[in-house]
Symmetry: C2
Subunit: 133 residues, 2 copies
DNA sequence: CATGAAGATGACGTTTACGTAATGCGAACG
DNA sequence: CGTTCGCATTACGTAAACGTCATCTTCATG
């Protein structure tokens, strides 16, 4: 069976990142690979985290913001007060993300409209060109 | 009637940016304020562009990418071939943005599920606490 | 006319997110 | 058994996106 652990090279090929990036994320406490001697071995949890990191980046979150988001997925041994605070932060994040989606939808609609206008311009330019021949 | 032109200070207050930012965007050819002597005066077009810039940033686009997007809204005097190329780029952007929205929707759903789990954890912790008293 | 507020222009500093050597080390291989 | 491979660490470099200073005009105003 496929081992639950991956080397740094395997990670790089799977997720299209450089070793430097993975070490950097570890230094920033976004990933926590275990060690076999010197070498890093990335767990399933690390892979799940990495996916979330890469997704977060695509939406313009900073690594620090992503780190906070990741914590939401790795509580479980927290105290009640801590947990509640985390929960509140998560609610804010959710609202933020939903607002972003709204905005993105608006941007998409704008661009679509612009494209329709572009189609008309192109069509009219083609006509002019034909008329000039 | 409100003048069609705004000073740099008015722009800053309206859009919550610094003068430095506006000058920087001009240097990067994202904005093209006109000059009254030395002073910059921002047109309606500049304001429309700035809104798009700020929106683009919220979605993790680089200023260079945003500059290319902005061009889509300011063609009109292009050649046919140029126009067609621009149109193709716009289509790619659109696909990109729609993919992003899909992903964002997925992330929102994930977070919502996580929150439901969090609610249960908090509830059980409260019970334990009460039982211990 | 002095001055002070608003804006301009360099020029250098800063943070984020890695890139890029330089160097070292253990295992595997010819 | 030397050397190459893969990975490690340390440290300096870099591009993007502004922040921060210092210095200079230009008006409006007391």
């Amino acid at each position: 069976m496929t081992e639950d652990l991956m080397t740094i090279r395997e990670m790089c090929e799977t997720y299209d990142v450089t070793p430097r990036t993975l070490r950097f994320y570890e230094a920033k406490e976004l990933l926590f690979p275990i060690r076999e001697g010197q070498k890093r071995l990335f767990t399933k949890s690390d892979r799940a985290r990495l996916k979330l990191i890469l997704r977060g980046k695509r939406f313009g979150f900073s690594l620090e913001e992503i780190r906070q988001l990741l914590d939401l997925y790795h509580v479980g041994d927290q105290q009640l007060t801590q947990m509640s605070r985390t929960y509140e932060i998560a609610l804010e994040r959710l609202a933020d993300m939903e607002a972003r989606r709204e905005e993105l939808t608006q941007a998409i609609d704008d661009l679509k409209e612009q494209l329709r206008w572009g189609e008309k311009v192109i069509a009219s330019m083609k006509n002019e060109k034909k008329a000039a021949e």
